[in-house]
């Protein structure tokens, strides 16, 4: 009888211990990830992050990505050379649930790209979610110059 009781108690303890173990869930910010490119030629999140910016009025945050050619600017501050590809991805920001004092990307609001062809000609495209169709944007020239003048985030 005593043996059964002990065994039962032991089993209960193990159950309690494993039951109280924190669930080890993987945490991925899926909402802020680009999970389908549809009409996008490539996934900008795969490229080299070059700059970050905040737009306080709109509560958005952007990251400027570049291909290898564009990323040279990180080192020498030179103009974007022919063959450069830039993407500006803009997220709606949200309060970081894990740290009061921080805001993190929530969902993607817009994706813009700038391609420099072999002659250095620039072409700007605005992609509209969720299918990332290339949409019309009336302020094309303005956006182009804003994107090209974003100061890159330099590190020693």
């Amino acid at each position: 009888m005593r043996l059964i009781f002990t065994a039962g108690l032991f089993a209960l303890m193990i159950l309690l211990m494993t039951g109280c173990k924190p669930n080890s869930v993987d945490r991925i910010n899926t909402g802020a990830s680009i999970t389908s490119i549809s009409r996008l030629p490539e996934n900008p999140l795969e490229m080299i992050p070059m700059a970050v910016s905040l737009q306080p009025q709109r509560k958005t945050m952007s990251t400027l990505y570049g291909n290898g050619i564009a990323a040279k600017r990180l080192k020498d501050d030179a103009d974007y050379a022919a063959g450069s590809v830039l993407y500006l991805v803009t997220w709606k920001g949200k309060a970081d649930p894990d740290w009061f004092g921080a805001r993190i990307p929530d969902r993607v609001m817009a994706i813009e790209s700038v391609y420099f062809d072999q002659n250095g000609q620039k072409s700007y495209t605005f992609f509209k979610g969720p299918a990332w169709n290339s949409g019309l944007d009336l302020k094309k020239e303005e956006r182009l110059s804003i994107i090209l003048s974003i100061p890159v985030a330099k590190s020693p």
Partner: protein, 312 residues
């Protein structure tokens, strides 16, 4: 009957004798009165004093049962660890940004329900915090202790000397990793508590782990590099990454870093990449701040899933 009596007496006298052995802290327990925190509204200062000061300042009020051996040894070790992580006695010697960082650290400890320790509040119910106390501190930080971006200084960034810079090792022996700028951004953060903007880079092992859903725990070989820049106000109203502040690394190796939760921790500050930390054990500071994330392998960042979407 007599034997039992003798045993009871024996135990009692042992307990009494044990009272002669006490932690150092109690010998000098004069409870140095810490001044009311300067520059903070009285209500806010009071909340911190009531709920934090016993372990996070030199002003400890020992209750009678705290003084009993062996309880006092446990209490003393809690206080020692507490002061190491956060010590309000140093308040007067700190500049405003450091003070604010302290308050944000304290508030985040409260919000994550880490602090005050439940074992402490169980015996010291007066130190328990209610929602009003927390809201008070939160409102104060949001209204007054907010970092504002600096305005653009023309060509103030001198980060171009990257070429061949000799970077010293971190005090725990970790060597600087210069190639993190080729890694992918697994997230970005706006930190309004200290006026910085950050990119968190993940090495290929980290990106693969995210993709395979194996991030808790992160696999050996995972490395994160978190870079911080000062926020700088642009002419167009946007805020950009200005002056480089620091880069921090977390390097996963369960065996090599068994003593520090499986991670190697390191930080290099400023344009000159000076290693942070005075002693080998400086990383206990990193761990105490990351402790609320212990169920997430000590990692704060919730990463993007980065897929090569052209690959089928």
């Amino acid at each position: 009957m007599k034997l039992k009596f003798k045993i009871v007496i024996g135990i009692l006298s042992l307990v009494l004798l044990a009272q002669l052995i006490r932690p150092e802290e109690l010998h000098s327990a004069k409870a140095q009165q810490v001044k009311r925190l300067a520059g903070v509204p009285e209500e806010v200062a009071k909340v911190l004093e009531t709920s934090c000061f016993d372990c996070h300042s030199s002003q400890t009020s020992w209750l009678w049962f705290d003084r009993l051996t062996p309880v006092n040894f446990l209490v003393a070790s809690h206080i020692r660890d507490g002061r190491k992580a956060l010590d309000f006695s140093q308040w007067d010697s700190l500049a405003t940004p450091k003070r604010n960082a302290m308050l944000y650290f304290a508030l985040n400890g409260m919000l994550s329900k880490e602090m005050p320790l439940s074992s402490y509040t169980a015996l010291h119910p007066a130190a328990k915090l209610d929602q009003n106390d927390i809201d008070l501190l939160r409102a104060y930080l949001l209204n007054t202790a907010l970092s504002k971006p600096a305005s653009t200084k023309s060509n103030s960034k001198g980060a171009a000397q990257s070429s061949v810079m000799e970077v010293k090792r971190s005090p725990n022996g970790i060597a600087y990793l210069p190639n993190y700028r080729n890694w992918k951004a697994i997230s970005t953060t706006e930190r309004f508590d200290n006026g910085t903007i950050r990119i968190i880079f993940g090495n290929p092992v980290a990106v693969k782990a995210i993709h395979e859903g194996k991030t808790n725990p992160w696999p050996d070989g995972t490395i994160f590099a978190k870079t911080a820049w000062k926020q700088e106000q642009g002419k167009d109203g946007s805020v950009y990454a200005g002056q480089f502040v620091q880069v921090e690394f977390m390097i996963k190796d369960v065996k090599q870093y068994a003593g520090t939760k499986g991670w190697g921790w390191a930080r290099w500050k400023g344009e000159n990449l000076l290693p942070y930390g005075k002693t080998v054990k400086f990383d206990s500071e990193c761990i105490s701040c990351h402790r609320p994330e212990r169920d997430h392998d000590y990692v704060f960042t919730t990463p993007f899933d980065i897929k090569d979407l052209n690959k089928k």
